[in-house]
């Protein structure tokens, strides 16, 4: 089986923020983070090239998590899909990352999970009222 490689790339220091949260809740082992546009000379193409140069498609399987669908960081990685074989997930939430790290899902499972309600933003006020199935006993 190929070695799984995880990259988190975001606008600003959100990626490091994800790492900090992962460290508390699960683990940040094996996670690479890229905080984009935090310096004036930041170059997205170069950064992506560096990631792809270090990625061995023969022995590794790369999963890239970005912050925003339609944002430049994700757009940059979408372009890279033309020449490189890797998985790209965007609109990443902490829940998606934790679940991915802990359960090691295959491609089908990832798609199913991302399409489920488990990782969507939730309006808690209504959710709380609609809670069902509190078990009063065993």
């Amino acid at each position: 089986m190929k070695e799984r490689k995880i990259v988190i790339a975001t606008h600003g220091t959100l990626a490091e923020g994800f790492r900090s949260a992962l460290k508390i809740i699960a683990t940040d082992e094996g996670v690479e983070t890229y905080c984009c546009y935090t310096t004036p000379d930041f170059n997205l193409e170069k950064t992506i090239q560096t990631i792809m140069d270090a990625y061995d498609e023969e022995t590794q399987e790369l999963y890239v998590f970005t912050d925003l669908y339609g944002g430049s960081v994700n757009n940059g990685f979408v372009n890279a899909l033309k020449n490189h074989q890797f998985h790209l997930i965007t609109n990443t939430t902490l829940g998606v990352l934790i679940d991915f790290i802990l359960t090691n899902p295959n491609q089908d499972e990832i798609e199913t999970k991302l399409n489920s309600n488990d990782f969507k933003a939730v309006y808690c006020n209504t959710a709380l009222v609609n809670i069902e199935g509190i078990e009063e006993d065993l």
């Binding site: 809670i131 509190i134 065993l138």
Partner: protein
Amino acid sequence: MIKALRIDHRLVHGQVAFTWTHFLSATRIIVIDDKVANDDFQKMTLNMAKPAGCKLNIFSVSKALERADKIDSLNDNVFIIFGNCKDAAGYITGHPKFKELNLGGIAKKEGSKKYGDVVYLAPDEEEELRKIQATGCELFIQQLPTTKRDPLKL
């Protein structure tokens, strides 16, 4: 069967709902906490926090003790969470059958001593934990399955 017991003042939260539940393959979480068992709003919030596909019960110590044998013999992989040392001691001394208890998070308070990054014990809590130790139950501090396990030295 019972997979693990933990004291965690945050009850069901990220570390518990995701990481420990996954690590233990828990299918049922039982919260034993007198205060929460009598607070309908907090029961609702815990139900919101429970992991997908996992059952949740919230019992007072006395209600849990009445069901202790049944809890032991459940087919589920059970993860028991106590909100504080007193309720943990109440259950474990009333049903002294456990080999070990994990101290997850116990909040800092006036007069408490630091035992770990997130474990602070006041004298009355130390006393409760001694009662648990006296049943032959080993106490250890561990935040996550992947972080180090330190035996508690009172």
